[in-house]
Amino acid sequence: MTATFAPAAPHPAGSATAGPRSALGVSFRGLGRSFGEGTARRTVLRDIDFDVVPGELVAILGPSGCGKSTLLRAVAGLDAPSAGEVLIDGTAVEGIDGRCAVAFQEPRLMPWQSVRRNVALGLPHGTGKAEGDARVDELIDLVELGAHASHRPREISGGMAQRASLARALARRPGVLLLDEPFGALDALTRLKMQDLLLEVRRVAPATVLLVTHDVDEALQLADRILVLGRTPDREGATISEVLTVPGERPRDRASAELARMRSALLESLGVDSHRH
């Protein structure tokens, strides 16, 4: 997949159709989200203050149900926060934001359309036919689905569907790429291949990436910084409990002592006894 692809040349800023194509910064300002009314009201997220630098890859870790998907949905504008706001490139997110693209926790492909048409769905509104076709071909090659481009989602494997979903998000040329456990449903081997693919993609299309994962090793392997969401016993709702900067150029040595130390610390802060894993 590497051979056919031009290296990190930034996309020409020429045609006005494709929207932002450079990485954009994301800022969370006092973000909070509660669901329900009255006595049934439950706070899921509170007091999230954080700045993601343009081009950065931030992994978001946290126990199941702590609000990771909710956080991404707030960035995409699919969900409005109850408190605070999200800024992309300095302007507040209000409603569905064209500067973002999401790869959801489930592939969410249209079952009645081919893989190709599904990827094309991600193209920004107003993309020309020729330009769009070329971009879709490029992306399908990148995620190695060339042989399955005309298949329906039910005819491909779960891993292929997640790759198609990633390609659809990339078709948008987003300034901010939101990945919600994009490799969650994959076996260990495919997962490693997909992680390499993500690094490859980032060389080609420089977007800011927020990557939700529950895999500590994945976070350590891919991220510039790791943001841990957690609850404190005294207050309802999860907030940022830790921010770690991961040292070293990627791809990183999975056996390095420093990463091993960080791994233990992360597992501990997630409430897992690292000696038993």
């Binding site: 699919l78 959801f104 769905l121 659809r168």
Partner: protein
Amino acid sequence: MALPGAHTTTKAEGSAASRGGATAAARRASRQELARRIGLGAVVPVALVALWQAASTLGWVSAVALPAPASVVEAAGELAGRGELGRHIGISVQRVLIGFGIGAALGLALGSLVGLSKWADALLGPTIGAFRAVPSLAWVPLLILWMKIGEDSKVTLIAIGAFFPIFTTVYLALRHVDKNLVEAARAFGLKGLKLLTTVQLPAVVPAVFSGLRLALAQSWLFLVAAELIASSMGLGFLLTDSQNNGRTDRLLLAIILLAVIGKITDALLGVVERKAVTRWA
């Protein structure tokens, strides 16, 4: 085959050929399957006709109550010879098609509107629900009073019969379109009509077709109801007219024709349905 180099190519060609062969074989298998299904489906009708023939030749029932199959065929020939049979069938099919067409179009349009828009649901939902609660035959006297005994009243009654199955299936199916898919499409900037044609309508295609088939069956039901009550032509008229004249042979003929034509229209719609469902589902 023996050469290692040749082996790899034959293998590759072999797999391509077997794939081509597989589709041809699959087509042959599906044709055989179809023939078997038609054969099996014909067993009971043929047995029924045989039983019928036996009942009349052996004198189990009087010829007045159950004329022999041959006399039904004779009756058909006689009516066809006078050109009446074609007229009865033609007008009935025409009424069903027009009424079904109108009812289906309205059902699709209103079902989509009420299924997609909360506002329209709140405004129209209760009223449509109340109308649905009226047994449709209760409209007959009113329709006849308003539109007299012409074509309009019959077509309207059939349209009413066809409307509700489609309205209900489309409305419910749109309510249950996978929210995740809709959200994904919205996240990629789709909205309004584009969202409707890209996600919501394709998602309900199978439901729309089961609604259409229900509606078609309803249309035939309402056709006969309309023609029984007031008409001078059509298969329903043939039924009452034969009853009044004691022509059991023609009565049986009308029933058989309704069964056969109803089955044919349903089968035609079924073919379209299968095509659409493999395309969209």
